[in-house]
Each structure stands twice: as structure tokens, then as C-alpha cells.
Symmetry: C2
Subunit: 292 residues, 2 copies
């Protein structure tokens, strides 16, 4: 297999992820051209050393990274391909299946497009070259995707210090529902149960609850967009969890009448929980990494 | 207020909590007599330096700590009071309201009994003198409880390095439902959702999920006993959470048909989650402590 060489990359969207990728590439001597619909964001990234602003007459780069919010990816990809930003394309959105379908329906070139999703520990910090160090970076090539395109994106992933993991968009989206979207919703429901509760009750609540409600600090707008793209799998996973909790709470309500049927139901749930937890700890790809 | 002096304490039950209390008392020069229905457990605690085995002819101690599982507390308390182990009594069970009612119905002396619950970070380690350092230790005296008894137990709490917090059994039990029992059930339901899922999906699941499913490692038997004593409040809190999740998952299921009504529902849930999380971080008693 010939080694692909990345000489110049265009990064479209200079937010946390785009700028961090650009910084990692610059640290490896790759030329980076930056584009954003907000000129101030490009200027900021340039000041951080992430590359130079893209010029109209630039020749096509080896690769363009579309690092914009999920709902904007397809339109931005189409525009970038029309204008010939690069020979090959990838994106970084946390949802894949629906985005891939939309891109195909919209008539994007799918041969040179490798859908991607870098996974990193959720952070509120600013862009940095090592954001993806030691993380998994999912790539979801379709049947028609050119193998050379996948190879080129894998070079980018490794320059960012991450490990490429190839899987289908569907598997990716189910994993994201389990690992990110459902935990956000459940965490929020648990934190919501604390609204209106006596301050005296809340005073006693310790770090166990702090752990399980941490995700409830997230910005609603970000999650709503992701859910719109991943609703099917999230509904699938969440409805099973909700059904378990409805059943257990109904059984517990009967406990006051001396009906101890909850014991069987709760024991079953807890054993399944033990089993799921064991499966999780047995096969994590990146034990110290979160998913974003 | 005269300072109560603890000269000798009887610890009934030499598990993690009982032995840790005994070690803290010994470190402060208090005499400790140990009792357990398993002689080997007493011998082990004696070897750890937690005190001496109680002898039949011992005079009543200043205080007896009943450190046995919740469902055994009332019978053990009654027996200890009958045999005159001490002048005053306290317990360490994580459930209070139902236990207090049972003790009163059983005819225990309620004047000299101070129901208690030391809170400490969940741990799988062995007994140690500093287990309760910096933690809250809830005391739930009833109307008839003698103030001198409360004062004496507060001395014990402080010798263990903890902070006494007085509240009603009902407030305590609602707090425990929020802080421990409900998180266990929800955590288990989330982990249970991972049973039978493709290994490829589980490989991608990161530390966010590890945090929210950590409690699913617990032993079912321990939780079942606690739930039996606190079913009312757990059902109350859990049914609200389950209802939120049922509603959101039903709305998400409609999203595939282009119905975006989930946006309003999810936004509402996430905002309530933000609010509950803010309330939690604003008024924690012991930010670095869990509840057990």
C-alpha cells in the first residue's frame, strides 16, 4: 500500500474541532488553509497558529475537513465540492447515517467523501493540538468510497494522534445513542427530579449523584440538533430504559401494601445491569476517553 | 451545655461501618467492646485494633452503636436494650423513617435511641479510622428523644471526623432516594440497555457512559433490602423520571415522520435538568462525598 502524503488540508469551520485538527496538522508540518462563514473566527484561528486564511485562487488541497454543525455539513460539503476546495473530503459530525443519506440524495460526490467522527473527552476548553490524542476516530466509508480516500483520511487521523476505526454509519449511530445521546437525556431527567425539592434534601446529595447528573449541564441547543439526526436509535434505546423504570416504579408503589413482587423485577433489572456493566468494562476501545 | 464524655462504646456488628467507627474511637482513646453474631468477625476486628470482644459481665457502656443491616436493626436494638448493653443507643442504617416506626411499635426505648446514618464515599475497601472524615452524619431524633442522647451521639460523630446534621427521618429518606436508590436503579437500567448489543457498538462507548453506569456494579441483594425500607420515596422520585423518559422517547419515535414536536419536550426536559443541576451544585453539604 503506497503511503498517502498530506501536503495541504483545507479546514472548513474553525470551531473547537476544526481548529484543533488544524493545530495538529500544523505541528506535523502540513499546510492548512482555513475557511469559516465568520471572518473573525478565521482570524482567531490564524492567530493561534492553525494555518492561513484560504485564498480564492488556491489550487485544490489534498483533503478538506468539513468541521461544521451536523445540520450544515451536507450544504457545506456540496458547496466545497462545487468550488473544488480539495480532491478528497471528510467531516467530523457526531451523527452519520442520516447525513450520508442526505449527502447522496443531494448529489454530493460520494467517491471522494469519507464520513468521519473524531471521539474525544468532552471539554469546555479551547482548541489544542492534542485534543484527539489516544482517541478513536470513526470512519464510515460507503460501498462507493474510493479506498485511496479512506487511506488519506487515515493519515490525517494518525497525524492528530488518534486511531482510525472503520464501521458502518448505522453501527456508529447506535453506539452514539448509547454512549452520548441517551446518557444526556437520562442524566437530565435525574437532575430535573431535583427541581423544587427541599434545599434540606438537596444538601445531602453527594458525589454519586453529581456523577450521574454531570451531563445535565450541557447546552440544550447542541443536543437537540444531534437528536434530530439520530432520533431513531435514541428512541430505540431510551424506550427500553423507560419501560424498565416504569415497571420498577409501579412495583415499588405496591410495596407499601405488603406486595413484594418488586423484588423479582428489581433483581432482574440489577442483574442485567451487572451484565451490561461487565460487557462495557470488558471491551472499551478507549477506556479513558469520552465520546463527543 | 455540659460536654458529654464517651468513655466506653459497644459496637454491635463488626462489618465495614462498625469496625471503622470502632477504629476511629480507639484512635481517640475511647474503650470499645465488640459484638457480632459471627465470632470470626469479632476476632478479625480485634486483630485490626478495633477494641476487645464484649464480655457477658460488662457494665452498661455510655453508648451502643447498632451497625447491622437495616432489616436487622430493630430486633438487635431491642435485644441490646433488654440486655442493658449501654445507657444510650444509635444505629447507622441508610433508611430511617420505617425503621423508627418499627422500633416504636416493637416497644424499644425511644428516649435513649438516636437514629443515625453516617454518609461516606462508596468504597470497596476495608475498614479504616478515617472512613467518615469530612462527611455528613445524619441524626434523626424523634420528639421524645432525650437531648442528652443526641449530644452524646454528636460527640461520637465528631470523634469519627464527621459533621452531625439533624433532620427528620422523612427528609432523610427522600434525600436518600434522590441520592442513592434512584441513581442505582437508573444506572442499572442504562447498563442493562447494553446487554445483547453488538460488541462493535460497545467498543465505542466512552467514559461518559462509564460514569453514569458505575453504580450498576453494586450487589443486587444490598439494594433490594434498602428499597424494601424506602420504597415509597423511591417510587415517588422514579415515577417522575420514568414519565419524562417515556414522553421523550415517544416524541422521538415520531421524528422519523417529520413530526418535530419532540423539540419542545426535550428542550423543556433539558432546561429542567440544567436547573436541577445548578441547584445541586449550589447547595451540596459535602461536595466530595458520596452517600452510602
Amino acid at each position: 500500500m503506497a503511503t498517502s502524503v498530506l501536503r495541504r488540508v483545507v479546514v472548513v469551520g474553525t470551531g473547537l474541532v476544526g481548529t484543533s485538527i488544524a493545530l495538529a496538522l500544523r505541528a506535523n508540518g502540513v499546510e492548512v488553509s482555513l475557511v469559516d462563514h465568520e471572518p473573525a473566527a478565521v482570524a482567531m484561528a490564524v492567530r493561534l497558529g492553525a494555518g492561513v486564511a484560504m485564498a480564492d485562487h488556491d489550487p485544490p488541497a489534498d483533503l478538506a475537513v468539513i468541521a461544521v454543525p451536523p445540520s450544515a455539513v451536507v450544504a457545506v460539503l456540496e458547496d466545497a465540492q462545487d468550488r473544488g476546495f480539495a480532491r478528497l473530503y471528510t467531516d467530523v459530525a457526531a451523527v452519520k447515517g442520516r447525513l450520508i443519506g442526505d449527502a447522496r440524495r443531494r448529489g454530493c460526490d460520494m467517491v471522494g467523501f469519507v464520513p468521519g467522527h473524531p471521539i474525544y473527552k468532552t471539554t469546555s476548553g479551547s482548541a489544542r493540538a492534542d485534543l484527539f490524542h489516544g482517541s478513536a476516530w470513526v470512519l464510515c466509508p460507503e460501498e462507493e468510497t474510493c479506498p485511496g480516500a479512506v487511506e488519506m483520511v487515515e493519515v490525517l487521523v494518525r497525524l492528530c494522534g488518534a486511531e482510525p476505526v472503520v464501521m458502518t454509519g448505522e453501527i456508529h449511530d447506535r453506539a452514539t445513542a448509547h454512549s452520548l445521546h441517551v446518557p444526556y437525556l437520562v442524566s437530565s431527567a435525574m437532575a430535573a427530579a431535583l427541581v423544587g425539592v427541599d434545599a434540606e434534601v438537596r444538601r445531602l446529595v453527594g458525589s454519586d449523584v453529581r456523577d450521574v447528573t454531570r451531563l445535565a449541564e450541557a447546552e440544550p441547543a447542541d443536543l437537540i440538533e444531534a437528536l434530530t439526526h439520530n432520533a431513531k436509535w435514541v428512541a430505540d434505546v431510551l424506550s427500553g430504559i423507560a419501560a424498565d423504570l416504569v415497571e420498577v416504579s409501579a412495583a415499588l408503589q405496591l410495596c407499601g401494601t405488603g406486595d413484594l413482587s418488586f423484588v423479582g423485577q428489581v433483581t432482574d433489572l440489577l442483574h442485567r445491569g451487572n451484565e451490561g456493566r461487565r460487557a462495557l468494562t470488558a471491551c472499551g476501545l478507549a477506556p479513558d476517553q469520552g465520546t463527543s
